[in-house]
Symmetry: C2
Subunit: 213 residues, 2 copies
């Protein structure tokens, strides 16, 4: 059975982005600090064509997260800074022509758009028919593999509230953000039954994995 | 140097209590679930005069938290359900005549009241002159030992915003609370510089310790 796996980094205080997201500041003010633990890793450097980088306690966690993923779901703000109707087809994501997904990515939006075929196996599919439809399409595309629920907070909170997330693997960065996009917001108490699977103490970050009952 | 140490349990989503706190439900709806990891421990059972209980990966964390503490600071809602001016002296805390502190406890309130001498070395001192004054009094009383900042969220957020907290040791429970009292709220980005000291994977909980720079 294909699982929907939330894998994301948040601040101590549950923010996944800072305020004032823009093209210059995709993660909002301070949001980039959340990912400091990831940038020195060999796994990250390799994504960017470099052969250096370190291996530490985060490395097996990253490996585990990347394994058995056949599709990704994300919100539109994670795809780009354009709001409202698409003015044209020029915005093709933050990641250049060879994005680090290498599988189909489903972008939730209220505004329809033709799919984008990128290099390296990544394609972007714009879904305006809601979160359940996006999940069904992602499952079809994943060919039995799991689906990465990547962000942002609004989309994640919708999937959580709908009880559609099977696993949460969250990285908690030693960062305080003042405002922005917050996870685990506006959920009913008892909406989710969580079982802690493991926690990993890594340099500058803690990774906690939960099974959602 | 006497340190102010925040040691508290929060939900995945940063709530330390649920909504609708009352005398029957001191931690609000669902708030008790946060502490499920603590109740089976020998350290908890011993506080309540029992000799049974288990020892697990949380046990050394609890021991470390209890060590070298000479005073506690808490908000008024953590002391009791009475709001507004004290109608009389009858409310003496949630914990009976021998509270599990065994040292002076400073309760922040807008409404003055005479100190309470309890059994077993605990005393409650009501401070209406603000958080800095409470900290100064707690330091005097602690005799060189550290001070436990115990909660609730409003008081903790004030101490964090004022830059007065030296160490954060937070337990994250696999629980979602919908609303209530939230930690790390309304802080300026960059107000706190955190360094992760250690994370402990324990049954049903993760304990993360930060040094505040």
């Amino acid at each position: 059975m294909s699982k929907l796996r939330l894998m994301i980094t948040m601040s101590l205080g549950s923010y996944v982005a800072g305020p004032d997201q823009s093209e210059e500041n995709p993660l909002g003010v301070g949001g980039m600090e959340l990912h400091q633990w990831f940038f020195p890793l060999k796994a990250f450097r390799e994504m960017h064509g470099e052969s250096d980088g370190e291996t530490n306690a985060s490395s097996p966690v990253v490996e585990e997260r990347q394994a058995n993923i056949g599709a990704t779901i994300m919100g539109r703000n994670m795809f780009g800074p354009v709001r409202g109707p698409w003015p044209d087809e020029s915005w093709r994501g933050w990641w250049g022509e060879d994005p680090p997904y290498h599988h189909p990515v489903f972008v939730l939006t209220h505004h329809q758009r033709e799919p984008l075929e990128m290099e390296g196996g990544t394609s972007f599919h714009f879904v305006s028919s809601g979160i359940e439809s996006a999940l069904a399409q992602a499952k079809d595309a994943a060919g039995g593999q799991d689906i990465w629920l990547a962000g942002g907070a609004a989309v994640v909170n919708q999937y959580l509230a709908a009880g559609l997330v099977n696993e949460i693997d969250i990285s908690i960065a030693p960062v305080i953000l003042s405002s922005g996009a917050r996870l685990f917001d506006k959920l009913e108490h008892g909406a989710l039954e969580l079982e802690q699977i493991r926690a990993v103490d890594a340099p500058g970050v803690t990774h906690i994995k939960y099974k959602v009952g």
